[in-house]
């Protein structure tokens, strides 16, 4: 009876106003979040920092259970898998020795050519303490943050290739935006051919390739690596291989973000090159074949006595400013392309 009276008291007229207010607030929140997401990001980072011990505690048994569930089907093919891995291991050992030889040779060539060496990468290792896979979001949380020197934008890799980028750093935790996420865009290069493209996540396991020239000769199995454009992500990080899905090329990622337990965060900073100081020949007037204006005279110290002793008998020469004619800028004269033939009037 009371329940019925409550329902009756909360009639449509009373319920519609707060509902309308809340709907407007929700729309405002969406717009505010789009315009100013840093407020939400800070709150998220603080919350993740605060719940880090609980996440570590909870994620351990879940990860083990998840690994066990995912490994159930592997139990039935243990023997075949073992044989396959042995063969693959032998093949990879051959490739390893070849790679080491080639690496040494490359270093020698770089030395001979006096090539600019690749910038050294400073990497830190962190543990994955959480994974969030929602319909419009693919992220993971790692147990390292600003206190370990992590910064947003840094690349996160596992043993096989790139996983994503840090997009939010708390004090002791960081959120990693996976390459499959809707917001992920990274510059990549397709080899062979060094074809530049932007790899864009769309919340499917295989990201797409955007801004690719339609005439670019691509084929299934081509390697995709980071191009390093923009200077945020180091070039040459393995990302994946090209696959054909429904007539369009996509990237099958090498790294398995769902199975990664420990990841490396690469601190990559492109060395900042200072531009050389401009010489008079670099000035636009010189480049146009005109004589550059003389540099302005240094400021004259009015009351400073001369340091050199004057000749005996001569009165001390006062410090004077340069004649006005010398200070007046000379009009530029066309010298017919012959440098140094102009005269001051």
């Amino acid at each position: 009876m009371a329940n019925g009276s409550m329902r009756y008291a909360r009639g449509r007229g009373n319920a519609q106003l707060p509902l309308a207010i809340v709907a407007v607030l929700a729309v405002v929140l969406v717009l505010l979040g789009k315009a100013q997401s840093s407020l939400f990001d800070r709150a998220r980072a603080s919350f993740t920092d605060w719940t880090r011990p609980a996440l570590v505690w909870v994620s351990t048994p879940f990860d083990k259970a998840s690994a066990w569930f995912n490994g159930i089907d592997g139990i039935f093919v243990v023997y075949q898998e073992n044989q396959r891995l042995k063969q693959e291991n032998a093949r990879l050992r051959q490739w390893q020795s070849a790679a080491l030889l080639l690496d040494e040779r490359l270093k020698r060539y770089q030395l001979l050519l006096n090539a600019v060496p690749d910038p050294a990468l400073n990497a830190r290792t962190a543990r994955v303490i959480g994974r969030a896979s929602h319909p419009f979001l693919d992220t993971m949380i790692i147990d390292a943050g600003k206190s370990q020197g992590l910064k947003p934008g840094e690349a996160v890799v596992d043993a096989r290739g790139m996983i994503g980028r840090i997009f939010l750093s708390g004090e002791r935790t960081s959120w990693v935006l996976l390459l499959t996420d809707l917001n992920s865009r990274i510059p990549v290069m397709i080899q062979p051919g060094n074809i530049q493209a932007i790899m864009a996540g769309d919340n499917t396991p295989n990201p797409t390739l955007d801004t690719l020239a339609t005439t670019a000769p691509l084929k299934v199995g081509d390697q995709v690596v980071t191009s390093g454009d923009g200077g945020l992500i180091p070039p040459g990080l393995p990302v994946g291989v090209l696959v054909n899905e429904g007539g369009a090329f996509r990237v099958a990622l090498l790294a398995d973000a769902g199975a990664s337990e420990d990841v490396r965060i690469l601190d990559y900073k492109l060395p900042v090159e200072e531009p050389p100081a401009p010489s008079p020949n670099d000035l636009p007037a010189s480049a146009a074949g005109l004589k550059p204006e003389p540099p302005p005279p240094p400021p004259v110290q009015q009351a400073t006595p001369l340091q050199t002793n004057p000749p005996s008998g001569a009165p001390p020469k006062p410090a004077v400013a340069k004649p006005a004619a010398a200070q007046k800028p000379a009009p530029p004269q066309v010298n017919g392309g012959d440098n140094g033939d102009t005269q001051d009037q």
């Binding site: 009371a2 329940n3 009276s5 409550m6 329902r7 909360r10 319920a15 707060p18 509902l19 207010i21 809340v22 709907a23 607030l25 929700a26 729309v27 405002v28 929140l29 969406v30 717009l31 505010l32 979040g33 789009k34 997401s37 939400f40 709150a43 998220r44 919350f47 996440l55 909870v58 994620s59 879940f62 990860d63 259970a65 998840s66 569930f69 995912n70 303490i129 959480g130 994974r131 969030a132 896979s133 929602h134 319909p135 419009f136 979001l137 693919d138 992220t139 993971m140 949380i141 959120w175 809707l182 917001n183 769309d202 919340n203 499917t204 396991p205 973000a257 769902g258």
Partner: protein
Amino acid sequence: MSDRIGWSFRSALGASIPFLCAVLGVIASNMPVSIFGANVPPPMFGLMPIYFWCLVRPDLMPPFAVFIIGVLQDLLGGGSPGVWTLSFVAAYAVVDRERDSFAGLAGVGAILGFAVALLIAGVTAYATIAVLYWHLPPVASILVEIAISVVFYIPVALILGVIHRRLIGPLRGDY
């Protein structure tokens, strides 16, 4: 006098249980751990108490509570701010408006009613994301989440029913 104070405290506690259940649901949905692997989205536990009490006792699940639950979902989920807030409010608005139709459903119909509420929330979130990013995200993942949430709603609705009868009923004076 003390009886009256104690009674009002118990009444307030009873009134806050639906909101607390939804908060727990949001936390459970957004625990960044998954036993099914990272490719399977978690069920939308936060919407289940909203739908349940919007039908059973709408006075215990007011619009502002739904708004706060949505904000919490956005905060913990890590996505674009406001998307799930708007989706929860949209689903709540439809269910609240058609409450008589939804409340009349029983058995499989009740589960389908929740599926409709989920669909409204999912479509709202999808449309908001599409407008925000000017890009149509894949539909499969949101459909999978809806399907998983519907499956999980069956046991959760039983638990919510027990909570409603055992906890909210005795604690609320006007029940």
